[in-house]
């Protein structure tokens, strides 16, 4: 139970961190590095939910690789689309 509570506190802390990194109360572009960190942290949060809340830690290694790989690919595709926008805006 303590492990679940630690995971929950970490998720709340990372969400508050995302609000700060994402400059929730300010305008203007985040820039590629901040956007990439934001999506990476979000994928890590999703992995914490999968591993600790959903109990993927107790499933087979194949499922862990598949679902974590899916999260990584999704975050990378989103960041890649963001990078294309940044490149277009710069050029």
């Amino acid at each position: 139970m303590a492990k679940l509570t630690r995971t929950w506190l970490l998720l709340v802390a990372l969400t508050l961190g995302a609000l700060i990194a994402g400059r929730a109360t300010a305008a203007g572009s985040l820039g590629l590095p901040a956007a990439a960190v934001l999506m990476l942290v979000s994928a890590l949060k999703a992995n914490l939910i999968l591993t600790d809340f959903l109990g993927l830690a107790r499933s087979s290694p194949g499922w862990r690789v598949l679902l974590r790989g899916y999260l990584a690919v999704l975050a990378l595709l989103i960041v890649a689309a963001y990078a294309m926008t940044s490149a277009g805006a710069d050029g």
């Binding site: 139970m1 679940l4 509570t5 995971t7 929950w8 998720l11 709340v12 969400t15 508050l16 995302a18 609000l19 994402g22 929730a24 109360t25 305008a27 203007g28 572009s29 985040l30 956007a35 934001l38 999506m39 979000s42 994928a43 949060k45 999703a46 939910i49 999968l50 600790d52 809340f53 959903l54 109990g55 993927l56 107790r58 499933s59 087979s60 194949g62 499922w63 899916y70 999260l71 999704l74 975050a75 595709l77 989103i78 689309a81 963001y82 294309m84 926008t85 277009g88 805006a89």
Partner: protein
Amino acid sequence: MSAEQGPPAAGPEDWGPLSGLPGNPMMWILILGELAVFGAGMVGFAVARALDPVTFDASQAQLDRVLGGINTIVLVTSGWMAAVAVRRRTAGRSPRRWLLGAMALGAVFLGVKAVEYGGKFALGIGIETNAFFQLYFLLTGFHALHVVMGIAVLAVVTWRDSLENLETGTAFWHMVDLIWVLLYPLVYLLR
């Protein structure tokens, strides 16, 4: 005649690789399908933004980013309560109050979402305003519909609270939680 002497019942081992996941494999077929659908929707949103960043960034500025962040905390807290409920059931303790708490926070999430949508409608913003709001309402609305379904699923497993039922119901809830954790930064924060 004891139950052991009868024909073997169809068990989770019949589901191949899916039997390695917590809860009923049927729920996992649904979860994997939902992850694929939402994943495609999120990539679609990111690409649409890449094609028209000016409209997307100007429209996103009209969202309440802090309200979206509060809803993220509400949902991960609800997910934590659902996970604790399963752990309590495993230990032979009642999961009921924790499940009710998880459902109540799901209702809070929907309440915040209703306030958010109401604010947009009051400004004359709707699904046909532009491509950003079309995708915003589709993705967040489809997700909110899953929150409604998730609350219903949690209600059923609160009533019939075997360990397998709880693992199955909360697996769906965690999927809803997980999708929001990815949807929130994409729709509300990236600009």
